[in-house]
């Protein structure tokens, strides 16, 4: 096995161009598990942790550009105000050790339906920035993830950053697991209020092969909310929102939970998180 440790993004991209089959490693919290289980035997590994460009984040015109190599612990500590939904989701990832190593780029690289970093990105319409020696392209997260553990990354490309619209209203994220920490999601739900556009963004996790928005629920609740008067949300509206979210899900039965439970849980999480966000917006 060959192992490269480039010290700049440019060098990393050169290596990737020369060895398109090689596997990048960032925090290694997914990849090392795959190696351990003998599910992958890469010939070449390229370690991205010395490319400082990937470990940075910046604000630009209302959008936050999060480097692919920024670990969860920094998202929590540094971006909780700009990207509250992503920060709440990051807090639910693994343990302190995993949050110190694990990155958003790695979460997208793995493209698991249970990736907790993904729904908060989908709910606000974030996009992924992909680079190669021949240039940079960008695409919405929903397009980037093409199936269960499949993404649109080309051999010569690396994920360099995720461009996330800064929050324009309260955001929430909720995750079901059968343990109170360090658990893979049985189902997750993300919601983001956009008080300027008067719209509601949603995303479901662990409930379909690809990340999913509950468009009907979004449209329904945007109409129901009293954006001007900021009156409390009728419980019936929140409940209906929950049902529409559950209707959007395409869950399966597996060792972590049943499809029926996943739908049920989405209904409750959607109702609760929507209520929390709207209460926060009102007060």
């Amino acid at each position: 096995m060959d192992f490269f440790r480039p010290v700049s993004l440019a060098e990393a991209l050169e290596l990737k161009a020369a060895h398109p089959e090689c596997t990048p490693i960032a925090g290694g919290t997914d990849l090392m598990v795959e190696l351990n289980f003998d599910k992958k035997r890469p010939e070449t590994i390229i370690d991205l942790t010395a490319c400082s460009e990937l470990q940075e984040w910046s604000r630009d015109n209302g959008t936050v550009r999060v480097g692919a190599g920024v670990p969860y612990s920094r998202i929590i500590a540094e971006l909780a105000t700009d990207l509250p939904g992503l920060a709440i989701a990051s807090r639910t990832v693994g343990s302190p050790q995993i949050r110190n190593r694990g990155t958003l780029g790695g979460n997208l690289g793995t493209a698991s339906p249970a990736g907790d970093g993904i729904p908060p990105l989908v709910a606000v319409g974030a996009s992924v920035e992909l680079a190669s020696t021949s240039g940079t392209r960008s695409m919405p997260v929903t397009e980037f993830i093409t199936g269960v553990k499949e993404n649109a990354l080309r051999g010569e490309e690396l994920i360099t950053a995720i461009n996330v619209p800064g929050s324009r209203g309260p955001q929430q994220f909720s995750k079901i697991g059968t343990r109170n920490a360090m658990v893979i999601a049985v189902a997750t739900f993300s919601v983001a209020l956009d008080l300027e556009a008067r719209s509601v963004g949603t995303a479901l996790g662990s409930c379909s092969p690809r990340p999913l928005r509950a468009s009907d629920a979004e449209a329904f609740i945007a109409d129901e909310i009293d954006w001007d008067g900021r009156t409390p949300l009728p419980e019936s509206a929140a409940a209906r929102f929950g049902e529409l979210v559950a209707d959007a899900a395409r869950p399966i039965d597996d060792v972590r939970g049943t499809a029926a439970y996943r739908k049920h849980a989405l209904k409750i999480m959607a109702k609760r998180t929507l209520t929390w966000t709207w209460e926060e917006a009102r007060t």
């Binding site: 598990v33 909720s174 995750k175 059968t178 343990r179 109170n180 920490a181 049985v186 439970y261 049920h264």
Partner: protein, 778 residues
Amino acid sequence: MSAPTKTIEVTRVRGGVGENAARPDGIPKVTGEFAYSSDLWAEGMLWGATVRSPHPRARIVSIDIAKALALPGVWAVLTHDDVPGNKTYGLEIPDQPVLAWDQTRYQGEPVVLIAADHPETATRAADLVDIFYEELDPITDPEVAMDPGTDVLHPEAKNPHNLIRHVRIRSGDPDASADVVVSGEYTIGMQDQAFLGPESGLAVPDGEGGVDLYVATQWLHVDLDQLAGALGLTEDRVRITLAGVGGAFGAREDLSMQIHCCMLALHTNRPVKMMYSREESFFGHVHRHPARMYYEHGATRDGDLVYVKARIILDGGAYASSSTAVISNATCFAVGPYEVPNATLDGYVVYTDNPPCGAMRGFGSVQACFGHESQMDKLADALGMDPLELRIRNAMTTGSKLPTGQIVQGPAPVKELLESVRDMPHPDPTPSGPLDLTLLPGGVSNTTHGEGVRRGVGYGVGFKNIAYSEGFDDYSTARVKLWSAGGEPIVEVHTAAAEVGQGVTTIQMQIARTELGVEQVVVLPADTQVRSAGSTSASRQTWMTGGAVRKACEAIRVRVLTDALVGLDGDPGDLSLEGGKVISSSLGVVADLADAIGDAAYEETYEYHHKKTFPLDPETGQGDAHVAFAFSAHRATCDVDTELGLVKVVELATAQDVGKAINPQAVEGQIEGGTAQGLGLAVMEEIQVKDGKVMNPSFTDYLIPTILDMPPMQIDVMELGDPDSEYGVKGVGEPPTISSTPAILAALRNASEKPLTHIPVRPDHFLWSGERPGELGP
């Protein structure tokens, strides 16, 4: 020997019985320097690997090892043909093949062994072994397995219909009737011991056909017996030394890689190391028996128990392991620590094609306790009585008679334990301050800010036997030596007691310090150069090996004091050893112990036996089968998010009679750890087996409690003293695992008003409208 010297102050040795003596392995474990069996290494060693059957049930048509053998770096590829001695082994019944030949009976059964110069080469060679299987339909339901029409998995077995053992207990009137009757059906999933140090060891051939094995295990001599048999060697040519053990909990009672590793070492004449991965470990050891239990309780309107009927079916899986003893416990303790005049109890343990099941902390009592405590709550409900009051009313005491006819002789403080947990202060209601997600069901996953959360409180009490039962003489041997070097007395203790993390090494040191008044005590590594200490299981080592060490020390003390008396007026009963001095009650300090010893070395070996026990009558189940009993009670306080079915165990309070706490800190450690394991069974730990296949052989999906799941505890340690043991000790390790689970379940039912008849409870169980899966609730 000089004349009596003047009296000087004698300081008692530190770290004796009753103190929180520091464990010698404590700091190395915390700093990562402790050498576990997986850290073993020898010059020029090879790596072993195991090829396992992917099928739960299959006929082996052919095995082709040619390609694997041809791979460069491979030193040996062995099959059943290469087993030098007995082709099968087992703790109670030798029914398990060292390597399968004609058929495999569970997924993961070992078929071929490989030794290579690198673990990766061994793994690649494993992929090159060609085994042609003819798959058969696995038998996976134990009740179906018992049907006369079902295929028999072990035609050579002594019982028909895949039955490993049926325990039948009858006491009192089988037709007794009662005012109030409740019945219930309860099921338990397969729990894993989940020790953190997977199976591993190193076998070193001695060049003369014998072998030394360094291994993490629980009972060196039972390993030796099976190992020597399979290797076709006499026991003196096989030596076993305990390597660093990373937890056991019953999972190391059966052999795993011991025979395999030695076969490879003897075949290649090179040291061979084997080390399972976490995934392989799930297939490499037995698990806790899943159970299906049918109960009926009858009581008077006032709440006196009239009868209990129970039918308990345990899934033994593919091989017998210790199933015969587990079902004995499950049946003997099926009614719990209560006085029940009439009992009709049937326990069955059955062969299936599921993973083999055997010993795990609590050993049969865990399953029974979930059954009887669930029933006690149900009965209290039917009687309109407080569940605690019902328990106290029927509590067993010293002198009570078990359904087996045995009279309980030691302390049996069931009532006192329940009262203790009842009277402990309750935890605060959900705090009203700033939102702290870690205190809520779902934790940091942010599923509730209080919505749907209801609190419940529940109680559980349980008991089990200490040491082995039904006539088995599980003695323990201690060799103790006292000499002096550089003017300091030194004690050396040698036993084969396996330190698996519970602290038996420290216990031995503490006892020797107290008995001989010597601070410097060395406990030699446990090995087979001394006779058996019995198993580190059944909560027995402090009683048995502790007892042996004390008796050996006493024998030495008598000799030292007798020698010290020479030339003095007095009687040996007048003398004692304390603080490195020989002390006379009339004359004061008569000598430094080191001087008294001089150049002599005192050595004594003692074999400690517990009182004799007897088999159970096969028809009636009557008999004095058990040595002694240990009791504990728990109170659980739980918050349930009733809409999502998520749980936060808020607090666990417990009271336990430990007889005598030789090391109070170690006692608390056992109580906390055992309780955590019981919490795991209550709310998350289950090996999911579908059609004989394990669906979650990893810590990704086999969940064990984290620090955010395990709540703070209140612990009341009672020291009531057992009349039959040294210092009055009882075992400590298992009871907490027994009573914690039902207490948590009672609290969850109390909060949710759901029947919750299966453990572990999963979120959707809270949402079922009835007892079984169906439409989810609101």
